[in-house]
């Protein structure tokens, strides 16, 4: 197992390297002139040329790529913002917690509300509990985040004055963004959990457990849930990645200084290095989350663990070491 984790960690290096190269190349072909963005349109031609020379913009593609890779991977330096000259790295680091909080709370809400909702729906398949849960889930899936967020702001901030609508000063500030961000996740998780539980309820080993005289409660906790949660974990992991990117809308809506907002602003102002930095950062986070999901996976499903261990065994046999 440890070998597998190590292997996966090593795999992350080429993946992130590839993401970096791709995003750099795309940005390289994006029309526009960094020097013009920095100096504005009123500077002299000599000033532009001097700045281009200083920033190394006149160098060929490969030299620039290599320099960028060197900065990013050896010095962990994503460059400076083209717009205001601040360090992209420190901006990303300072904005990272807000995005992480949003994504985490949203996942927590999916687990805390979505999974129970799905289980209740599956257990009462076809009855009113099922219909109600699935109606809520349908609402959650159909309502886009930006619309739900606006409606919540209208109701709770403008009319009722209960909650602030923008910023991140106190914990009250987080309530609306977290609900807005989490609702879709709850809905998706509830539907996933429902279908997965329904599938497992029919399984032979559940009948076996029942034939053993196990109580319905223990059948649920010991036999149905451990099996039905396997696909739910996968989908949660995937949605965590989506959350990291999906917070873009929420962060802009509620003026939360997170990575999403930073990325959107950077794209709007053609802040090349900031865009590249944000994308690479998201890629790293995504890879780490996916690794975590796979580890949790192996923990709850011994068959998958056996596969991982099987791979390293095979390799040992191949290389002749036993």
């Amino acid at each position: 197992m440890y070998k597998y984790i190590l292997k996966r960690l090593l795999w992350m290096i080429p993946i992130i390297l590839a993401v970096t190269i791709v995003i750099f190349t795309i940005m390289y072909f994006v029309p526009g002139d960094i020097a013009k963005i920095i100096l504005g349109t009123n500077a002299s031609d000599e000033a532009y040329a001097a700045l281009r020379e200083r920033l190394g913009l006149n160098d060929p593609y490969f030299i620039r790529l290599l320099n960028y890779l060197k900065d990013v991977f050896l010095h962990f330096n994503f460059g400076e913002s083209v717009v205001d000259g601040t360090s992209v790295t420190s901006a990303l680091i300072s904005r990272f917690p807000a995005t992480l909080i949003l994504a985490f709370t949203s996942i927590l809400m999916s687990i805390a509300f979505g999974i129970p909702l799905g289980i209740v729906a599956a257990q009462h398949n076809g009855k009113w509990q099922d219909t109600t849960s699935m109606f809520i889930a349908l609402l959650g899936i159909s309502m886009p985040g930006f619309w739900l967020g606006l409606m919540l702001v209208l109701l709770f901030s403008l009319h009722l004055h209960w909650l602030p609508s923008t910023g991140i000063g106190t914990w009250q500030h987080w309530i609306l963004p977290v609900i807005t961000n989490g609702f879709g996740g709850i809905a998706a998780t509830a539907r996933m959990a429902r279908s997965s539980v329904l599938e497992v309820i029919e399984a032979d080993y559940v009948t076996t457990a029942r034939a053993k005289g196990v109580s319905e409660r223990n059948i649920l906790t010991r036999h149905i849930l451990p099996n039905s949660m396997i696909p739910v974990v996968t989908s949660l992991g995937g949605s965590f990645g989506m959350q990291m990117a999906g917070t873009i809308v929420i962060e802009n809506l509620f003026s939360i200084p997170g990575i999403g907002q930073y990325t959107v602003n950077a794209i709007g102002s053609r802040d090349y290095y900031a865009v590249q930095g944000s994308v690479i950062m998201l890629a790293i986070v995504f890879s780490v989350v996916m690794l975590l999901v796979d580890i949790i996976y192996a923990y709850i499903d011994p068959r998958i663990k056996a596969q991982f261990e099987g791979q390293s065994k095979k390799r040992r046999v191949k290389s002749g070491v036993k």
Partner: protein
């Protein structure tokens, strides 16, 4: 009522229906059976004849939404199982009656250690500590020929035959009085089949349990059973002592089944088969259910449902043509 209570197991006129997409599936249609302590009964019949449904009805583990017991009574050790509360059933399932399922590949929980799956039932019924339950489970594993150090392994680490051994260990762990074995060897390969059957027979004998063995293999029945009941379209068409049924099969369906077994000493190109297909359980034929396929059927078979006719000692048969047919033989 009291008289009925004397038998170890008595099923009286059991009728079970499934509903599927608005259609009613008549799975079991008035089955009556008796079984004494220490006896083994073979339930024989085609796929879909309702054998498994009979067993699941005894355990009361039919799928709750799609099935319903429409009539009949099941007495076990003098108690009507249909009238017991769900809580009382928990005490009976796994403890007094346990069941082996057809497919060992899917009968075990894939994310639970096999030992724990055996120990779970023991801890539940025997009111023992976790450690004692584990010891008992290890003993059971050894008993079915699996080394006890494999207690901590998962089902995917076992072969099909070993999984079925685990299932058998699980069902016998609490010394049940009645074992329902639903095609326990169908999913296994022939060499393993013999081993598993041999082991089951010994274990049942050792624990002095009764068994209902569901199968479509007449060879297995001959090997294992004291009594045979032939099930066709949710009905017992012939029931009797093993030797009586094997020596004098009376129902045309039973005869057809025996006729379909190839004989080693005859050189034949084609195997015998029973003409036609089993009836559609959503739309059963009128009168005798077997009459559309029966070589002897006439109008009287369609108009009247045959009653059981006694043809030997504890041997009866449900065929309207029986007397005439026997005479013609």
């Amino acid at each position: 009522m009291n008289e009925r209570g004397r038998d170890f197991l008595e099923i009286k006129d059991l009728t079970v229906e499934y509903t599927s997409e608005g259609q009613v599936v008549h799975a079991v249609n008035g089955v009556s059976l008796k079984l004494d302590k220490g006896q083994t009964l073979g339930l024989v019949g085609e796929t879909g004849a309702g054998k498994t449904t009979i067993a699941k009805s005894i355990m009361r583990i039919l799928p709750p939404h799609s099935s319903a017991v429409k009539g009949g009574e099941i007495y076990f050790e003098g108690r009507n199982l249909q009238e017991l509360s769900e809580l009382e059933m928990h005490e009976i399932r796994g403890k007094k009656i346990s069941m082996i399922f057809q497919d060992p590949m899917t009968a075990l929980n894939p994310v639970m250690r096999v030992g724990e799956q055996i120990a779970e039932g023991v801890a539940l019924h025997e009111k023992v500590s976790k450690k004692e339950a584990q010891e008992r489970a290890e003993q059971m594993l050894e008993m079915v020929g699996i080394p006890k150090n494999r207690y901590k392994e998962y089902p995917h680490q076992f072969s099909g035959g070993m999984k079925q051994r685990v299932v058998i260990a699980m069902t016998l762990a609490c010394n049940p009085r009645l074992l329902l074995a639903d095609e326990p060897t169908t999913a296994l390969d022939v060499t393993i089949q013999a081993q598993v059957l041999e082991m089951m027979r010994n274990l049942v004998k050792k624990k002095d349990a009764s068994m209902i063995l569901i199968t479509h293999d007449l060879g297995v029945v001959a090997e294992m059973c004291d009594y045979v009941a032939v099930v066709y379209a949710g009905e017992i068409v012939e029931h009797g002592d093993l030797f009586s049924v094997f020596d004098h099969p009376s129902h045309p369906y039973t005869k057809g089944l025996f006729g379909a077994i190839p004989k080693l000493n005859e050189d034949k190109g084609r195997l015998h088969s029973i003409e036609g297909l089993p009836p559609d359980p959503t739309n059963l034929p009128q009168g005798c259910y077997f009459c559309p396929r029966c070589p002897l059927a006439d109008e009287s078979c369609v108009s009247k449902k045959p009653e059981p006719v006694v043809v030997g000692r504890s041997h009866y048969c449900r065929c309207g043509k029986l007397k005439k047919w026997e005479a013609n033989k």
